[in-house]
């Protein structure tokens, strides 16, 4: 009698929110959280985190470095709803209020190995010039009530945004039992580098 195969596969993600490039802003911190489908559940690690506040240094003026660790393990029965990491970056404005500087989201890579992702960060924009001035003056910028909206496709068509920076993330992915369940995730791509302005990584 054949042994029953596994019905659940595991996804372990470790890595870091490495750094950000926001040419116009300084003194930023970021929050991350994971968004996943109904068939997924985190089994270990932290689902959310807030980083330190980072500033530009005189030695390395173009980068804002967090080096903030990510460590989480999920279990699931279905790849639909594959986890996405949602990042929100905040910083002070001219008056000292904490305002949002960008939201971004990316799927956790699914082939085992090391992956670097650079994601664009965008903020919602007010439609009228008067509202833009009042929100600048009062320190209350348009922001999402729940940053998890950025990981969904529905309801995005009514939002106007402005993209104004990038965040670089590093992921190390390990999966268990995806092959036993019949899934083919393609070649595992070590040193894989994907992003809007970076060339594609080399095959193993």
């Amino acid at each position: 009698m054949a042994a029953a195969g596994p019905s659940v596969f595991l996804l372990m993600v470790s890595g870091q929110v490495e750094s950000a490039q926001f040419p116009e802003y300084d003194d930023l911190y970021c929050k991350y959280c994971f968004v996943y489908g109904h068939d997924w559940a985190p089994t270990a690690g932290l689902e959310e985190g807030i980083s330190q506040i980072t500033s530009r240094s005189r030695d390395v003026p173009h980068a804002l470095v967090w080096n903030f660790p990510i460590d989480i393990t999920f279990k699931s029965t279905n790849p639909f709803g594959w986890p996405q990491i949602v990042l929100s970056v905040y910083g002070p404005d001219v008056f000292g209020n904490d305002v949002v500087r960008g939201y971004g989201a990316v799927h956790v890579p699914f082939s085992p190995g090391r992956h670097k992702r650079t994601i664009p960060m965008f903020v919602p924009e007010s439609t009228s010039k008067l509202q833009k001035f009042t929100s600048w003056f009062m320190g209350r910028r348009p922001e999402y009530t729940d940053p998890k909206v950025v990981a969904q496709g529905e309801g995005r068509e009514v939002t106007r945004v402005r993209s104004q920076g990038f965040v670089t993330l590093l992921f190390n992915v390990v999966t268990k039992d995806t092959r036993k369940l019949g899934y083919d995730t393609g070649p595992s791509d070590t040193q894989g580098v994907l992003g809007p302005s970076l060339p594609q990584g080399l095959p193993p």
Binding site: F80, V106, F122, E157, R162, Y183, D184, D189
Partner: protein, 175 residues
């Protein structure tokens, strides 16, 4: 039945002359394919880039198909529109690309085109906006009636798609 998961993002677009862009996307498959979970079409946010000229949408795509045959491999089709400060929309380009057929992560660049009208319509488009649009969206991803069209190039839509295949080796299919 074999299953295909398409998990990724419509990252953004470059090369368009207008700057506040959004994209209406959809997926078209053959008769042997059935969409088990995910939305088949959608519309992205409108982005006005501050840095560089790439408009970023970061629109997630998560589709789960079950299939009985290889014909009609899924195609993603796009309509890129620009929105001005008054809220009027103008067509910037149509494009389509097939979902890749090998498992793993892929970076795709999809070129776009827009229909050119007569010289009077082109002049009107330059001054007032508007311009001809397709009546039936299926000319974007099918070749059947394309010979009637005269088009000009638009920009490029960029996607990061990951493909997960299940049970294809049971049926002897090599991808």
């Amino acid at each position: 039945m074999a299953e295909v998961h398409v998990i990724g993002q419509i990252v953004g677009a470059t090369g368009f002359s207008e700057s506040s862009l959004f994209c209406k996307w959809g997926v078209h498959t053959g008769a042997a394919w059935k969409l088990l979970s995910g939305v088949r079409e959608g519309q992205t946010q409108v982005d006005t880039p501050q840095i560089g000229d790439m408009a970023y949408w970061s629109h997630p795509i998560d589709l789960h198909f079950a299939t009985k045959g290889l014909q009609g491999w899924p195609r993603l089709h796009f309509q890129v529109w620009s929105q001005d400060s008054f809220g009027r929309c103008q067509l910037a380009g149509y494009g389509f690309c097939h979902v890749p057929s090998s498992p793993g992560t892929h970076q795709l660049d999809c070129p776009t085109w827009r229909p050119l009208g007569s010289w009077q319509e082109q002049l009107a488009r330059a001054f007032v906006g508007g311009g001809p649009q397709l009546l039936h969206g299926d000319a974007i991803y099918s070749g059947a009636d394309r010979y009637r069209l005269h088009t000009a190039a638009g920009g490029t839509v960029h996607l990061d798609l990951g493909l997960l295949l299940r049970h294809f080796d049971r049926y002897g299919v090599e991808c």
